[in-house]
Amino acid sequence: MSRSSPPTFACWLLETVVPTPYREAILGDLIEEYALRTESTSRFTASRWFWSQTCRSVPSMVWSSLRSRDCLISIGIAMSVYIVMEILEYAANLTISKWVAPQPTTYVVLAPVVFLTACAIGGCVAARIRRGATKFLALMVMITVAVLIDLKVCTIPVPWWYEFGFLTLGPLAVIITPTLFGRLKQQGAVT
């Protein structure tokens, strides 16, 4: 990270949350002012300012996005992708439990792999159709996993961190995978 490059995670957060029409402008404004601030103050102070702007901008941007019709389209896409994702996951789990690994222990190992793969594919498909749909898809995954944990659907005894892994890594896979693929594609295009 060079002196004038802003905090990467804050940039990623803004790119994920801010709706498309103003994403470029907001990020551009912050990057430009960050560079000016690093010239007059320390990098730490400038980064703190960048983070403060990010944290305070996210709620208003999410609210603004929810008010627009754009949001309804994104929710619709996320819901459609989620249904397809669940069907695929159910089919894969059924195949594993019936033919590949009927033992519960093997199933416990393979289930997270299937779940995370489904989340990653779902995230990529949703982002391909509409970038804003991924955050709603991640939210849907998180809510479903939380409900399933609460209902104690899993009959096999598993440790708490196993369920916690589903709750956190699933939504993360939905959001992070399309970003990673995008970066890889960009690097591929450059080289």
């Binding site: 470029e24 907001i26 404004d29 702007q53 941007m61």
Partner: protein, 83 residues
Amino acid sequence: MIVRREIEERTGRNISIGAVYATLERLEAKGYVSSFTGEPTPQRGGRAKRLFRVEAAGKRALEVSEQTIRSMTAGLKDRWRTI
């Protein structure tokens, strides 16, 4: 960026960029301002600038608002002395 800085200088309050754009978006939806995208620059990490222009409807609304504030605050200073 200029809009946010101007508000900060005039009010002395730290304003978030998100709040500024959310407000400008609402004003644009009402037809008070219009916006267009500028050229991307290296200083902005290759990102384009969003430029805003006040429209005739916005100017009228601003005049009405200013007039309302003026009539609401007229004579306030004299009253403060008696409080």
